[in-house]
Every structure is written in structure tokens, then in C-alpha cells.
Symmetry: C2
Subunit: 388 residues, 2 copies
């Protein structure tokens, strides 16, 4: 059997195994990042023209590209519809970016921690993943400068708004400083914003790509967190120098994104109906976030530290007494609780022990307290064993 | 700008340019491979459960996997639903296969000619494309053995039923012989069958993968030619040794295929409603094929040779007096006719002049005669110039 060299880097996915185990109905799961079922909007299909069944353009539906460009310009992203590429969920943006930039041994810059599935696809293509630590208001700028001086990364990948897993939102000042540094060193920015609209306490900040003056950029978003993930409709917007390459890579990957989902997305993007839905969604998740915070205070205040997330879907806990949280999984699942260990969110998992990512959007509130209580017991038991 | 080495192989797509030019309403296009608009079935969405909007499994919808496995077993493909992976159109199978097998310089075996978009993605990943000539009943077996003895290909990619572009359907004997050879040399078969159901003159033949005894295999199909391409729903079925790798590659590419299209496909696969639709589709395309054949006889009988396609969507013409058909494009488009030059269907286009691929499914019958007349005039003019 002669597979490609790349397949040797195709690891068994811990997440797949956790999520599979979490399917059992008795399991209280904090593991995934699923929207709450109750908040999936009811959608209508009756008016969809039959022509949406025909092959479409690789770029995406013209009307949807226009609508997405209008939304992005309102955020300060300088773009035309011709720079918008509709993709099969924003995960596909990462696949296309990997194809565009990564050979074996290509240096890239990432936040530590960073989005697990981004790490997987970048490593699959053979990237050398160099990290810059995240602080409460964004990247450590001194470390960023050092890395930019020392390495020649092909790009930097950032999730500046309610990052998965850390929930960090970059401050205005850090956004400005990051943009200045990337312009200075001419490094492409890939800015991933699935969670921008899931803000619970107001406040906002324009994307970092809108602050760049020279560097190339890819901005990517999705309807998966605001509308329906099952549509698999995401988008990227790219600086004009990158767009033609990304378009050809999209075409060779799957010809074009499904038009049925694109049509449905177009019924919502830019409408009052969507604003109303988002408002309800924020209210719903804020209540869940607050209940989660209260339950965490009860069960984890002696075990871990965390910041209250102002948006997104996750709490990121740092254990006061670190241990490899992957070793907790078996006991947790035996107690019918699932969570996501923090280690796999780092390129060097073994050097980054002691974090847990907990999703607050999907758990049944009636089982929240019991779930966190059991999880805390698992942590206590492991720490007692470790200390013994 | 430091792109990956791979991007240097990302050619400007001739097809994209032709199809873009063919968008002008006055152009009579034989270029694409679009289903006839009139034959897109009317579909209902009213019964789709809202849960189809949630994230789904990377493998695909369980019910659809079962239905596809049942259909494949009826064709003789030995498989369970656990071997079925739903993909975002069968083009994605080629992307996943490229990721699984191809490093720079990996030898792979292809038919000559072969499907253009397969060639593009395999070359993008750096494959050395070795070809075996196609004859009227399938691969040249002597050449196949020679290539298998001389090279160590990672896989062979075949479209044995109404191939795009040649319309060749492999005979029973050739299917058997190819299977025996692949077993002997232990070479993986990727068998691509988008056109199996578009058969106009009856007759069938079981897939080559169903005849293998030892070799690994990937069988891939789509609903794009039978139902609605805009759904972007295809599938692959793989031998159990390959499946786990392909599943992880799918997950890292786009998490999962859109569930809306999967749900719609499930309303049709295995039903009498689909059989009825396919019967109408075959009748419709047979009439178009016959009309095209009659018009070709009128306008091209002195210029080219061809076999009447028994299925699929294309005529493959071989000019009696060869010339590089890419040089005809400008004059053809000036005369408001679009066609697909044959050269790009070969890894070495410059050594394979003199073929035209003509689509018969999409052209308005009222404009068919005029279109072929103009195209023949373009060929005659070029040959006269060449001779002068």
C-alpha cells in the first residue's frame, strides 16, 4: 500500500471519538460546538426556482456574492462582489488556503491555542506550525514581532473575535498593532470569523483585514453559527492578488457550492428577518452563558480559572493544578460526561497541559449542574491520584 | 509572494474561458456537459425536517448511505453502508483520492483521453500521469500490462461506462481482463461512473470493482447527471482498507456534505419515481443523440470520424485531417459557436491533436443544424489555411 507521504500526518481524530461517544443519549456533552436545536430557524423552500438544481458558477451565486460583499463593506472590509468566493462551509477556506500556501516544511503562524480543525488541515499539508501566545486581549505583540523577524511565515491564521477555543476577543489596539506588523513584514492574514455575530454583551470591533494597508488577506465567514450549519454555506473574501488562485482551487475541489443552500442563505443575508433571528439567538445564548457561569462558579471555582466569554460558544478553563486533560476522558465518559481536552488545540499538545474547552450552547439546562458536578469530580479524582 | 510549489501547476483553465464565452445567449454551445434544463425534475421540500439544518456526520446521512449501498450491491459491488462516504459531488472524490495517494512525482495511470477535471486535480497534486490508450471497447490491454510491469502506479483512474470525453463503454471481456491485471499487480482502481444510468440503447455491464478479488478500490457516482447537479451530492464507496483515510480527509476538507441536498437525494434513490424519471431522461436524450447524429452526418461526414455514443452526454470526433483544435476556438466563438477542444483531455495535449468533444444534451434542437454547420465551416477554413 503506497499512500502519499501526507497520509502519515493524518492522525486519528480524538474529537471524532469523543463526539461519537457523546452521541449516547445519556451523555451530558460539553464537547461539540453545535448550535442549540431549539434555535434553528424555520426556513421556507417553496419559492426556490427549479434552476437552482442546475450546475452553478464556481464563484457562487451572483446575488449572494453581492449581499456578502455589502455586509463585509459595512464591517469596513474593502471589497467588491468579485472578491467573494462562496465555499462549502468555512472549513473549506482552510483547505483552499492550505493548497495555496503549504508545502512540506512551510512555516505558518498560529495563535496558541488555535482552532483544532485548522491545525489538522495545515499539518496534513505539512506546515511547520509556529505559535504566538494569546493573551486576554489578543496576541502577545512582542512574541509576534520576534516570530515575524525570525521566521518567514507564508501566512498567519487568526480568529480575533470570540476565538475557538479560548473565547478571546482582540482589543481595538491589538487589532491595529497586528495589522501594522503584518504590513511591515508583508505577511498574508487569514482571518476566520464564524462567531462575530454571537456577541452577548454588545461592543464590536472591525476586522483586522480592514486595517491592512499592504499585506494580502483572506477573510472567511459562514452561516453555520447564525443560520443553519447543515446548509454547508460559507464564504471567503480575498485580496485581488489571491482571488484567482483560490477560485481555481475551489473549482478543482468540488466545482461549486451547493446552490440550494446558497439560495436559502440569500433569503436571510442582509434582511431584517436575520437581524431579528440573531437578536433572539444572542438572548438565548446569553442566558445559557450566564447559567453556565453560575454552575461553573459552584463546581469549578476551586479547580480552575477562566474568563467569562463575551461571545461565541465556549468556556476555556485553565486548571489551577495542571494535568493532561486527555487522561480525564475515559473517566468522564464513564460518568456520562463529555468535554474537549485542551491539548489538541496546540501544535505541541504535550507541552500545553491543563485546559478544558466546554461548550455552553448545546447542553440541556436541566442537566447542566449535574454534568459539571460530575466533571469536577473526575478532575478532583485525577488530581488526588496524581498527588498520591 | 510565496505560494506553494503546487500553485505553479494551477493552470489557467481553458474550459472556464470557453464556458464564460458560451454564456452569451447568442452562442450555440456544444462545450459544457449540462443536463437539459427541461429535464430537471420538480422536487418537493415541504416534508424536510428542520433537523437537516443541524451539523451532520462526516460519513453522510445514515439512510442515504444505506440506500446507496443497496443500489451498489444490486450492481454487484460488494459493500455495506459503512463503506459509503457521501461527498460534495463526485469531483470531491478525486480531490480526496489525490490527497490520499499523490505526492510530487507519484506515478498514476489514466485512460487517454481522460476526464479533464480529473487530470487537473491529479496534476495539481504533482502526479506523473501515465496513459494507456482507449479503444472502442476499453483500454488497450497489451499497453496496460506493459505499463503495470514498467511503472508502479499508486492507482489507475477509469471511467468505463460512457466515458467523458470519448463515450467509450468497456466490453464485458475488457472489464474482466482489467480486473485480473489489477489484482495481479495489486494496483488500486478508482472507477468513476457518473453516466451509468444515461444509457440509450439498453445493455449494461457490472462495474469493474465488482470483479476485483484482491486490489483496493474506490467506486464513485453522483446524482448530478440523473437528478440535480445543483445539490452537489455525490458518493464514494471504498474497500475497507481505504475508507477510514478517506473519511478523515473528507472531514478536514469541509466537515460534511450539505444535508439539504442529501435529504432530497434520499427522496429519490431507490424509488420508482426515480426509475420513471430516468426512463423519461433516457428517451429525451436518445432523441437528442439521434438528431445530433443526423446533423453530424450532414455537416461532418467528410471532416471527421466518430462512434455513435450509446450513453452519456458527448460525441467525440476525430478529424480526418488533424490540426490543433484549440486554434479553432477563436474563429468558432466569433461565429457564435462553442465546443471543447480535445487536446486538454490528454496529459500531453500537444501530442494529441485533432479531436473535438461535442455535447448533445444541452443545445436547443432548433439551433443544432446551424451550430454544426458553422462549426464545420470553421474547421474547413482552418484546414484550407493550413494546406495553403
Amino acid at each position: 500500500m503506497a499512500f502519499s507521504e501526507r497520509v502519515s500526518r493524518l492522525k486519528s481524530s480524538l474529537i471524532r471519538e469523543i463526539l461519537a461517544a457523546a452521541q449516547r443519549p445519556e451523555v451530558m456533552s460539553f464537547a461539540g460546538g453545535l448550535p442549540a436545536e431549539a434555535m434553528l430557524p424555520k426556513v421556507e423552500w417553496g419559492q426556490m426556482p427549479i434552476s437552482m438544481g442546475q450546475y452553478g458558477m464556481s464563484e457562487g451565486e451572483p446575488g449572494l456574492r453581492e449581499a456578502l460583499a455589502t455586509e463585509a463593506r459595512a464591517l469596513g472590509v474593502p471589497c467588491e462582489a468579485s472578491q467573494v468566493l462562496v465555499v462549502s462551509g468555512s472549513q473549506q477556506t482552510l483547505d483552499l488556503a492550505a493548497k495555496l500556501y503549504i508545502d512540506k516544511g512551510t512555516d505558518i503562524l498560529l495563535e496558541a491555542p488555535t482552532y483544532l480543525a485548522a491545525l489538522q488541515i495545515f499539518q496534513l499539508f505539512g506546515a511547520d506550525c509556529i505559535t504566538v501566545p494569546l493573551e486576554a486581549d489578543g496576541l502577545n505583540l512582542k512574541e509576534l514581532r520576534t516570530r515575524l523577524e525570525k521566521n518567514r511565515p507564508a501566512f498567519i491564521y487568526l480568529i480575533p473575535t470570540f476565538q475557538n477555543p479560548s473565547a478571546v476577543r482582540y482589543s481595538e489596539a491589538k487589532r491595529d498593532s497586528v495589522a501594522v506588523l503584518l504590513d511591515e513584514f508583508g505577511v498574508t492574514l487569514i482571518e476566520d470569523e464564524p462567531y462575530r455575530e454571537l456577541t452577548f454583551d454588545g461592543g464590536s470591533a472591525t476586522p483586522i483585514v480592514s486595517r491592512l494597508k499592504k499585506a494580502s488577506w483572506i477573510y472567511t465567514g459562514t452561516v453555520s453559527k447564525t443560520l443553519l450549519p447543515g446548509l454547508r454555506v460559507g464564504y471567503l473574501i480575498a485580496s485581488p492578488d489571491l482571488f484567482p488562485h483560490l477560485l481555481r482551487l475551489k473549482q478543482s475541489s468540488d466545482l461549486h457550492t451547493n446552490r440550494v443552500g446558497q439560495w436559502q442563505a440569500l433569503q436571510w443575508i442582509g434582511t431584517e428577518k436575520l437581524q431579528h433571528h440573531l437578536s433572539e439567538l444572542r438572548d438565548f445564548y446569553r442566558v445559557r452563558r450566564d447559567a453556565f457561569q453560575a454552575a461553573l462558579e459552584t463546581h469549578f471555582s476551586d479547580l480552575a480559572d477562566w474568563n467569562v466569554p463575551q461571545g461565541g460558544l465556549f468556556f476555556w478553563l485553565t486548571l489551577k493544578q495542571p494535568l493532561d486533560t486527555r487522561t480525564l476522558l475515559k473517566a468522564a465518559l464513564a460518568a456520562d460526561v463529555a468535554f474537549m481536552p485542551g491539548e489538541p488545540f496546540f501544535p505541541e499538545p504535550d507541552n500545553n497541559s491543563g485546559h478544558l474547552r466546554l461548550n455552553f450552547s448545546h447542553i440541556d439546562p436541566a442537566r447542566l449542574g449535574e454534568g459539571l458536578k460530575r466533571l469536577a469530580a473526575v478532575v478532583r479524582q485525577a488530581q488526588a491520584t496524581q498527588a498520591a
